[in-house]
């Protein structure tokens, strides 16, 4: 969490002067008034920083790729299937799984705010919450995919899901070729966060190897 110049490039800088001080001051006020417990605060932060994240979603996808019974359950009742792996909680109450196929590519956005399936993907990245993505994901989804460098099969239909209600969407990317016989644990390594939002696809074995060597 080092403060660097980098975050200014990504819209997470400070528009408000002295924001760090103001947050500190608010925190001490709310503690003094007995509304929040600082230790609970630390634990909450730690949970979302280290325990809840896209590895959860990757485990769901890898299981769906390797277990047809689970896949069927996931497509019929995503909430129950995902809960069976222990991923439940706030912002994941009403889950729907969207399967990418050679014919159809799904992509998720929240144009009105930043709705995102926390239990499976963690907290959303800055770009997902940004005006450029929120404005163009629905207006020019194919252009957005191109901007992400994401190639979808020729002639694919594109479906964009605007998360305007409390339904939360998890994209199930296509399983890459050349992964026959891989375990669910190995496969999960190929499942990127963006592939579960739909702005990306799963890594190929070659891409995974290259990223591990980098």
């Amino acid at each position: 969490m080092a403060e660097t110049d980098h975050h200014h490039d990504h819209g997470e800088g400070s528009e408000l002067p002295d924001i760090a001080l103001r947050v500190k001051s608010l925190e001490s006020l709310l503690i003094e008034k007995g509304y929040v417990d600082p230790e609970a605060l630390d634990l909450l932060i730690e949970t979302y920083e280290h325990k809840v994240g896209p590895r959860n979603g990757a485990a769901v996808v890898a299981r769906a790729w390797t277990d047809p019974g689970f896949k069927k359950h996931l497509m019929e009742d995503a909430g129950a299937a995902i809960a069976s792996l222990g991923f439940v909680g706030r912002q994941g109450e009403h889950m729907v799984a969207l399967e990418n196929t050679p014919e159809t590519h799904n992509m998720v956005v929240c144009t009105l705010c930043s709705c995102y399936p926390w239990p499976v993907l963690g907290l959303p990245p800055v770009w997902y919450k940004s005006a450029p993505y929120r404005s163009r994901a629905v207006g020019d989804p194919r252009g957005v995919l191109e901007e992400f460098g994401t190639q979808i099969p020729e002639g694919s239909a594109v479906r964009v899901w605007d998360s305007t209600a409390e339904i939360r969407y998890l994209v199930i990317p296509m399983r890459p070729e050349g992964t026959d016989g891989w375990s669910a644990e190995q496969l999960a390594e190929l499942v990127t966060r963006n592939s579960m939002i739909g702005t990306g696809v799963a890594l190929t074995p070659e891409q995974l190897e290259a990223s591990q060597q980098a």
Binding site: M1, E3, H10, G11, E12, S14, E15, I19, A20, V23, K24, S25, L26, S28, L29, L30, K33, G34, Y35, V36, D37, A40, L41, D42, L43, L44, I45, T47, Y48, G53, G89, H94, T111, L112, L123, P125, W127, A131, P132, R134, S135, R136, V138, G139, R142, V144, E147, F148, G155, S156, A157, V158, R159, V160, D162, S163, T164, A165, E166, I167
Partner: protein
Amino acid sequence: MNGVHDMGGMHGFGPIDPEPDEPVFHTQWEARVYGLASAFGAVGDWTLDADRHATETIAPHIYLNASYYEKWFLSMHTLLLAGGYVSEEELASGKMATPARPVEGVLRPAGVEDYVHDASLSSRPAGSDPAYAVGQQVRARNTNPPGHTRLPRYARGRIGTVEGIHGCHIFPDSNAHGRGEQPQWLYSVRFTAQELWGAGQPRRTDIYIDLWEPYLGQVDTDD
């Protein structure tokens, strides 16, 4: 409300700029804002819908420039003041000047794990049958409420097809304003890119929007 938060289809915001290996929080204060807002959720008497509306009412020039967690910080101010939890004077000084509002259920460390895993369902038992069926065409109403709504501007007046029914869910337009949950049927409605954005749009490109029944009308009516 027709605010700047309703961004679908707007132009001019520039390229999407994904950050490689982005941390969950960029700074300590972002993490603290997240923690404060989440922890306060255990005692605060506001709803998620009121929270979203507080964010929408941030002045447009600030909304567009503020980062996500700055917006959380600002909407938290609004809700803390509105609920009488803190005073302006206290927010300015950071020091307690008035007695705390009595609250129940302050989040303690032992309760965090349950709290994180707690589900807060927005679905409610149905009091009626849905007015529309899967496969039916519907028109999103042309309506411009000044308060909270989850009917994006880009869909208003457009014709779509009901592709699914999610059940009855809390109606944000009433719940955000303290008028109760008033559950309504929630539909998954598909709009073609051509219907939303005009001729010349690529074929086989569809936008699915989750819309409550009061947002929808018959196709042969104008509103």
